[in-house]
Point group: C2
Chain length 430, copies 2
């Protein structure tokens, strides 16, 4: 049974605070082990990749090859279910077209005293994409990570994916082909992150690494940060649904379970002002669980981390939502737009009863790589800007230098940086 | 004497590669010590801050107070040199007005099948700003970090700055006042980062931490990343000057020294096609060093990390510059714009002989917090976007769900996520 909190309870504030502090993941400290793996890959390159893959993935890369060949990808595409391929093709086109609108503009202007200021956006040259293996190998995630990179103009997109016991998911390879991934390597874990960051004989180094992974992958990304750029560190996923009493409880139950089935550490939260709806949703969750393929995972998530907050009115919701800063926020009520406008912290908002989060996960066009574990307070979903960088541009002529120079000299001297001051003064014969 | 490389030498490629691999900083591994400090501050709050400040900064915060009072800031402003204050006020206004142009636009559109897609930018609620103490306490850096946050709309900007032996730089406090910093605390080091991330009795937690610091500060930021957002990890600074034979060697020497005086690990690089200019610049550096207040630091940086690359023609420069990806790039030649257009990786570009980097450091208006140590390959200078985050918005009606639903169901089933598929199917009576 999920936790119930009622905003009218005298101990609500205290219990809500305790809920916010709940850790859903045991954070395994693997940083020492990962540091060793990274050092080995830096020192021994491919040989280290081969050793670790034998040990962790039970695969001999001297036979299979580190790089997945174009022929292997052709074969994967050939055996993929045509209906699924068609769906992925639609998803790819919608994601591409939505992300194309995120391309930033470079610009230049001249200010009142004649100084030219500007900025120029350029793509990162080479990006590494980590894709988890095994059950969490999702073709949709390949699209969501690869498409914004390609839209940004990244020249070289190198994907790594572990092949436990030699097995690769053909749909993951098909999605890589669709998205224009340039190179695919069958390596995973911290060793794959190290290879992307520092390069090996087979894998050229990249400038930025994105994509989700387990504790080893996350620790490796943290350690190579600085040598390369990284994206956020993904935690377990969550959904928060705000619903009034007029909604269909079966639909809401289905949405809560779609989140819960990801992972036993996933979290599904319902905020409602209708006790009747809350009861109906709970009953529907139990009913639907019975026939769910991943019912053990979903049931554990719902029992351990499920939460129903009973509100006096939906107007109570925004303040609570902003504290939770959910990755996914569904709003199902008469004035969904009005409520959405009052909320500041959420990774993605899904408006209305006909926008289940699963549409956004796959085919809506927006990105499903979103900030988890309250990090929507300070970060954004993945987008085109994550694969670009901005160079600032400044140009003064003699008149502008004369106008600004004395202030620069004053600050340089005040900071004890005499050569800074002199580099201006010498041009002004001061 | 700086290193000389000539692009015409048979071993140039090899020596250039070796140069790129040179580490200018001994990366001290302080992660264990920092983990202890962070854990102590989480467990004991203010008491831990008081203990560490006594030990590392020789200051008793039980007397001085953790928070710097408004009265202390008033007093600092009162004793600040009026000419410097005026210069900082000009700098503040120019930085503010330039960064105001970076404010992003939220947007919404309806696609061909009627799906509404959009995104909304909102500021981070609370930001922590780390300011180094001692000799590296620069009021200009306070402006460069604080102004973009305030332009973004950050409600609460909390600054931490160590007060070794009780001493604070009055200009740093004056700059904080100018920039609208809301709270100032006299704590530094890893303990200050931990306090900002987790909060103590006196310091409320923030959602993002920015600002440069020593190895302890950098390691602490890396460790709290995820709980809060962080900016890039700053390394030693560098400048690359491209110049043709027509330039004034004294001006270029002054610019190279302005970089070198920062730090013995700073780096100044000259690329030229004129052997005569290279000789004249080298001679001018020696002359100017003699009268430089920070000549020991600048001389060590120039001797250890200074570099002159002799080109056949300036057209050789872009490929080399992109490998180096310098933090600061000055271009002094007839066709500065044409050369700039061919370069992809640089933190900031300063065009023409009348734009010494020091103008950009202080009063140009663009930000001086820029990607160091080749990280311009994948990251940007600090800006307004670093203090905002984007929420994506998606809205389907029944027709759009009917159009997209079957593809979402197909992908959900292919990924083995039955509840995802069902959350769509249940709405379509499938």
């Amino acid at each position: 049974m999920p936790l119930h909190l009622d905003i009218r309870s005298p101990d609500f504030a205290e219990r809500f605070e305790a809920f916010l502090g709940t850790k859903r993941e045991v954070s395994e400290d693997v940083s020492r082990a990962v540091a060793d793996i990274v050092a080995e890959v830096r020192a021994r390159g491919d040989a280290a990749l081969i050793d670790y893959s034998r040990r962790f993935d039970r695969i001999d890369l001297t036979d299979a090859g580190i790089r997945v060949t174009e022929g292997e990808i052709d074969a994967a595409v050939a055996i993929a279910d045509p209906k699924t391929l068609e769906a992925l093709t639609l998803a790819h086109e919608r994601i591409r077209s939505h992300h194309a609108r995120q391309l930033p503009e470079s610009g230049r202007y001249v200010d009142a005293i004649g100084v030219e200021l500007g900025h120029r956006w350029t793509p990162v040259d080479a990006v590494g994409l980590y894709v988890p293996g095994g059950t969490a190998a999702y073709p949709s995630s390949v699209l969501m990570n690869a498409v914004p990179a390609k839209v940004a103009g990244v020249d070289r997109l190198a994907m790594v994916v572990p092949a436990p016991d030699g097995v690769l998911n053909p749909l993951v390879l098909a999605a890589a082909r669709l998205a224009g991934v340039d190179e695919v390597y069958r390596v995973g874990g911290a060793q794959a992150v190290a290879a992307l960051a520092y390069g090996t004989q087979t894998i050229a180094p990249v400038a930025k690494i994105v994509g989700p992974g387990n504790a080893y992958v996350a620790a490796a990304k943290r350690q190579v940060f600085g040598t390369v750029g990284i994206d956020m560190i993904a935690g377990p996923s969550e959904v928060l649904v705000i619903a009034d009493g007029e909604q269909n409880p079966d639909w809401i139950a289905a949405d809560l379970l779609a989140q819960a089935e990801h992972d036993t550490a996933a979290q599904s939260i319902l905020l409602t002002d209708s006790p009747a709806l809350a009861r109906a949703v709970e009953a529907a969750v139990e009913r639907q669980l019975a026939t769910l393929p991943r019912r053990d995972i979903a049931a554990a998530s719902w029992a351990d981390f499920g939460l129903i907050i009973h509100l006096t009115a939906l107007a109570d919701a925004p303040a609570l939502v902003d504290r939770i800063a959910p990755e996914h926020l569904e709003i199902l009520c008469a004035d969904d737009e009005g409520l959405a406008a009052k909320i500041r912290h959420a990774g993605a908002i899904f408006l209305g009863a006909h926008t289940p989060e699963a549409i956004g996960d796959y085919v809506g066009g927006s990105n499903h790589v979103l900030p988890t574990a309250r990090s929507a307070r300070f970060s954004s979903g993945l987008g085109v800007l994550d694969f670009m960088k901005r160079t600032s541009i400044l140009k003064c002529g003699p008149d502008q230098l004369r106008a600004l120079g004395p202030a620069a000299i004053a600050i340089g001297e005040a900071e004890g940086l005499g050569a800074h001051a002199r580099s201006v003064a010498i041009r002004l014969n001061l």
